[in-house]
Symmetry: C2
DNA sequence: TATTGTTATACTCTATAACTATA
DNA sequence: TATAGTTATAGAGTATAACAATA
């Protein structure tokens, strides 16, 4: 830590300026945010070969695992607003990765399905995702990853 | 976990739909993102009494700890673009919480300082921030917080 | 030449209100 | 009445290019 602090303290940010950031350096919320942003950034670059943003990949993955679900179910599962999901579905449908099939049981809703092309893309994306997760696991160590998952789960309660 | 899964697996999201989310449920990046968003949301509400967004609070805190720093230093420390910091400084100056003093050594830059009003507000904000951090610590347990900080630090390497 | 602050701009993500067609 | 999908819209947050003043 090339980062001078009057009083010793454990985990701290390492700003490139050499300035003091005691308040933020001691903040768990801030550490969580910075780590998430850096991890997310790596993931965004990871998915570039398939030209998908993380949210779009997550939508494809949910459709793959729950073929025929409707848009309300997809948005609720992903924590996205129904209204904001529309453009995402439009986009993926425009790329020919998914399709809206009119549901026979409820004529208001669409059943979402992957196309063959979509299945191929999500398969390739899943490989890239796996490499990203492996990179994180390597940083954390074997049991560090499980520890982190458990602690993050506690934050969700 | 009121959330059926064919195969047993440890840490998983708990979507309100009952749909399967194996890919996302096993993803550390996704867990990190969801936990950060929830934590951030709590922090946003925490700061409402002082009418400050988290980024503005972090700027006030950095100025408090490094009085006289310039905008480039502030933006680099916080990981914000210089260009995007301008409106933030404008806003806080407009509220009378900080001031731009012309730096004698370098006439291009401003020295940022808290006003007396700014010191009072950041003091109150720090109390609220402390309550937020205490809430997180309670969810994680005594040593859980330190574990999490250490693991997040590993992600930053 | 390089740096500080600045403006303009654009793109993504997110949130709300209101509409339609169905249920 | 309520729900599924949709449109319009607005607010954050973030990113790049270009400029004037100063170093």
């Amino acid at each position: 830590m090339a980062f001078q602090n009057r009083d010793d303290d454990g985990g701290n940010e390492t700003p490139p300026t050499g300035l003091t950031t005691d308040t933020l350096g001691k903040s768990l919320g801030y550490a969580l945010r910075r780590a998430q942003l850096r991890t997310f950034d790596d993931f965004v670059r990871t998915l570039e070969p398939v030209n998908l943003r993380p949210a779009y990949y997550s939508l494809l993955a949910v459709i793959e695992e729950n073929p025929g679900l409707n848009q309300s179910e997809a948005s609720a599962t992903l924590g996205i607003q129904r209204t904001n999901l529309v453009a995402m579905v439009d986009y993926l449908e425009g790329r020919g990765l998914i399709e809206r099939r009119s549901a026979e049981s409820d004529r208001r809703s669409y059943a979402l399905h992957l196309t063959d092309s979509g299945k191929a893309v999500v398969g390739r994306a899943r490989e890239l995702h796996g490499a990203h997760e492996a990179r994180l696991a390597q940083k954390l160590g074997p049991q560090g990853r499980e520890q982190l998952l458990r602690l993050l789960q506690k934050l969700m309660d």
